[in-house]
């Protein structure tokens, strides 16, 4: 029988300050970059035209650029996409010379005829695999919707966790997830991934996945809080993380196996999605242990719960509690009916 991390007893919480440092090292430069350069939004968000072409031979992006230049489409981005003879041409709205007469549709036709003049007639010499033409209005609506989706998912999660657990747990879980969104945005910025609708979908899935992971640990915390009434929260958090460690390794291992398979095999269109999901598994696992658990401790300390564990939340492990709760079985006053 293989057992990984059985009876593990690591002091995870002790390393929390190092974890904060690591997180800050990821988020702060990423955000600085984000503020300076923004994100690489897909034309779904910016509006514009995307054309994916397959040429008979790998002609190289320069040849395509010269073809477009000759037709007066100057500011388009040209990128090799997957195979050596496939290219994606993006003409965004708002770049002066990228779009013909401000219309996304005529741009597609203009690109088509420009390619035809330089490369030779259509089906033999090149093939248009995909075109997308998005007006500016649609893009603006989509941006609004993406933020709405994240916002509402937070609200719903807060309410659900407040009902099923307690608001302190909900707050800690949502803050940890917010941290994941920040690190993911930084990650997207570092790799300069194109933010398409599907990538926004990946970020939202990440929200669900990270919450899921945090809840597994919090569920154990909830159980251990009932079971070990003498331990303080610091010990209980560590205990719970250690107890769920084999599960975390197994589940994240299997999920990672599928996302890595997607990164390597599922093609160019899905690659940004798969990369974001792979990173999401890292950051979701990390934040459940190093962000959500310590945050729960701080929240307990700040706004102590009923059994006043918060007051002892930060005391080192193993020391004697100040006010031990009554051991179970101690005399209590009950109403007569219950006897």
């Amino acid at each position: 029988m293989i057992r990984l991390f059985a009876n593990a007893n690591y002091d995870f919480i002790k390393w929390r300050r190092w974890a904060y440092g690591l997180t800050a090292a990821i988020i702060i430069p990423g955000f600085a970059l984000f503020l300076v350069r923004g994100l690489n939004y897909s034309i779904e968000f910016t509006g514009g035209t995307l054309i994916q072409v397959q040429t008979a031979e790998p002609v190289g992006p320069d040849r395509i650029r010269s073809a477009l230049d000759a037709a007066g489409i100057r500011d388009a981005e040209i990128q090799q996409f997957g195979a050596a003879n496939e290219y994606v041409i993006r003409a965004r709205i708002g770049r002066a010379d990228a779009v013909v007469e401000g219309s996304t549709e005529t741009t597609a036709a203009a690109v088509d005829s420009a390619l035809g003049r330089t490369l030779g007639p259509a089906p033999q010499h090149y093939k248009i695999l995909r075109t997308e033409a998005v007006g500016p209005k649609v893009g603006r609506e989509l941006q609004g919707k993406a933020f709405l989706a994240i916002f509402f998912s937070f609200i719903v999660t807060l309410v659900y966790l407040a009902v099923r657990f307690e608001w302190r747990f909900g707050l800690a879980a949502v803050l940890a997830t917010f941290h994941d969104i920040l690190t993911t945005i930084a990650f997207i910025r570092y790799l300069d991934l194109e933010v398409s609708l599907v990538v926004v979908g990946a970020v939202l899935t990440m929200v669900g996945y990270s919450l899921n992971d945090t809840i597994i640990i919090f569920d154990r915390v909830r159980e251990n809080l009932r079971k070990f009434r003498r331990q303080n929260l610091y010990e209980i958090l560590n205990l719970s993380i250690n107890e769920t460690l084999p599960r975390s390794v197994l589940t994240h291992g299997t999920t990672m196996a599928t996302t890595v398979a997607l990164v390597l095999l599922a093609g160019e269109v899905l690659r940004p999605f798969a990369l974001v999901m792979t990173f999401a598994i890292f950051t979701g696992t990390f934040s459940s242990i190093y962000i959500a658990a310590p945050l729960l401790m701080y929240i307990e300390k700040r706004w102590p719960g009923e059994d006043a564990r918060g007051a002892r939340a930060l005391r080192p492990p193993g020391s004697v509690p100040l006010n031990p709760p009554p051991p179970s079985g101690s005399p209590e006053v009950r109403s007569k009916a219950a006897v």
């Binding site: 939202l204 996945y209 899921n212 589940t251």
Partner: protein, 550 residues
């Protein structure tokens, strides 16, 4: 034992239901014939999962009313007219199930899966609507010409299609007297002679049944493609009486369990066109409780209409939008000037609203502008499916390997449940009619990785219980019991996020969210219920088992 049996029955039932959803069925698709350029129905057998545009190729268009040449006051009204117009033209698209729907208030979505020619599709959608009123073939000239046409077809070697069982030539389906209105007796007699000639059912006339109105014919739905191809032949067109044209109707009527499409012989000259129409409104007449449509013509149009209707009192007037006869042609009761009323009798108000939309679509064509367009070539879709399947197979193989190596026999149980999970998820997509998109495929692959989480939670819990020295049977029971709250809370919160994604998202994101939600539901069933049943059978066979392969 009894509980095991009932559990197995439940699993078997679910599996049967799922497999039933996935059995390949015959799907009728309209495809454009490469040589003739016409649409024809073909039937293929395939697994009934709808593939999104990104997987099978096709074109997605979002359209709005063009306001660049002056504001359109009521865009919701205009987009409804546009929808009506696009629907009328639906048969012109080279696709099986075109999606035409209004999104929000003022936006029209058209999705044409499998359409290979986007320029043509856009042309069809953006073409200005053309409305005309034409008098039907009141003298039954077309019916009289049918024997000649049949003979010509027979000479050309066209056999009557085997379906001609329903008697011979133009058959009275309702027993209405077609000469009632204004039929010319002399011609009618000649026709009567030919129709009695039951021994020689003609290739064309065996497909046609006389309708209620002069010049109206009914064609059995399944014979429509045959009739279409016969009518398109040059010899048939040459023999069609001068001054007449044939127009298909939009209505599908059902009589005695069969459905029929309407075909009209109408005059080739309209008595008036949509440019003279100013407005149309549907109401319910408070006195007679009839659905009616009131329309107003321009002053010039009123003069033309007055002259024409004066000449055609008691004739039937076909309302034709883009070459399609809309509804049943009403009879002209009297001379009509600038204002007219179409009475629809006991028909629901909805029909009147539809007709008013048709009239307005012809009068006030709504120019559409494309605000979003996506065209995906069919080869790209096939590549995506192939790559997605490769990634899926490798991903699933890795998950299987990890589970079996780590949890041994219990891992095998989890993998068996995983196979059920994949079947259930696909059946869910097919059964609810959701569409599988490329992001959906990614969601499916990803959810296989997540689906084992519930089993991992349970197995780890059982291991813990065994470690605490519990008996195998107790450990299994406790393992399932204690893992439950974590499984439910984590899955519900993920499902809630996916649900919001579905509500707020559009297109591809919705497809992804749906796959995720169905996947979560399926994984809860398989991981908890199915694996539990496997354990029960296992423990039942080996009641004295001391160690558990977990």
């Amino acid at each position: 034992m009894r509980t095991i049996r009932s559990r197995l029955i439940a699993i078997g039932g679910l599996l049967a239901l799922a497999v039933w959803q996935l059995i390949p069925t015959d799907v009728t698709q309209r495809v454009r014939d490469a040589t003739t350029g016409r649409m024809k129905d073909t039937t293929i057998r395939r697994v009934p999962i709808n593939l999104g545009l990104d997987l099978q190729g096709g074109i997605h268009l979002a359209l709005e009313v063009d306001q660049s040449k002056g504001p359109v006051p009521d865009c919701a009204d205009a987009i409804q007219r546009a929808e009506k117009v696009v629907r009328t033209r639906i048969d012109e698209f080279g696709t099986s199930e075109p999606v035409v729907q209004i999104q929000g208030r003022c936006r029209l979505i058209v999705e044409l899966a499998g359409e290979k020619d986007p320029a043509r599709a856009k042309g069809i959608i953006q073409r200005t609507a053309f409305l005309e009123f034409r008098i039907t073939d009141m003298k039954n000239l077309f019916r009289d010409a049918l024997p000649e046409i049949d003979k010509a077809l027979q000479r050309a070697g066209v056999r009557p299609s085997g379906q001609g069982a329903a008697a011979a030539s133009v058959t009275q389906l309702f027993g209405t007297d077609t000469g009632k209105a204004k039929g010319k007796p002399a011609k009618g007699k000649a026709a009567a002679k030919d129709t009695t000639d039951l021994n020689a059912p003609g290739p064309l006339s065996s497909l046609l049944f006389q309708g209620q109105v002069n010049g109206e014919y009914l064609v059995p739905e399944e014979q429509v493609p045959v009739a279409e191809s016969l009518l398109a032949r040059p010899d048939v067109q040459r023999l069609t009486p001068r001054g007449l044209e044939l127009r298909w109707g939009t209505e599908v009527l059902s009589r005695a369990g069969r459905s029929y499409r309407t075909l009209y012989a109408v005059e080739d000259r309209p008595i008036i066109t949509g440019e003279y129409l100013q407005d149309a409104k549907s109401t319910r007449d408070p006195l007679t409780n009839q659905s009616v449509v009131n329309f107003v013509l321009s002053r010039r149009g009123g003069r033309i209409f007055e002259r024409e209707t004066g000449r055609h009192v008691q004739d039937y007037m076909a309302i034709i939008l883009d070459g399609r006869v809309q509804g049943q042609p009403p009879i002209i009761k009297s001379q009509i000037g600038q204002r007219g009323q179409i009475e629809l009798g006991a028909k629901p108000l909805q029909d009147a609203q539809d007709l008013a939309l048709v009239l307005k679509a012809g009068a006030l064509p709504a120019p559409l502008t494309i605000i979003e367009e996506r065209t995906i070539g069919p080869s790209l879709g096939q590549d995506s499916i192939r790559d997605g399947l490769h990634a899926g197979i490798v991903g699933v193989a890795l998950v299987v390997l990890i589970m079996v190596v780590y949890y041994r026999l219990s891992g095998v149980l989890a993998v068996a449940a995983l196979a059920l999970y994949v079947v259930f998820t696909l059946a869910g997509l097919a059964g609810f009619g959701f569409t599988l998109t490329l992001p959906g495929l990614a969601g499916l692959v990803l959810s296989v990785g997540i689906a084992v989480d519930a089993n991992v939670l349970i197995f780890e819990r059982i291991r813990e219980e065994l470690q605490h020295g519990k008996l195998v049977r107790t450990a299994v029971d406790e393992g399932f019991k204690h893992a439950m709250s974590a499984i439910i809370d984590s899955n519900v919160s993920t499902a809630l996020t996916a649900f919001i994604l579905y509500l707020v998202g559009t297109g591809p994101v919705q497809g992804f969210a749906i796959t995720l939600i169905i996947g979560i539901a399926a994984s809860m069933i398989t991981a908890i219920f199915v694996v539990r049943t496997f354990y029960m059978i296992w423990l039942d066979r080996r009641p004295d088992m001391a160690t558990l392969s977990v």
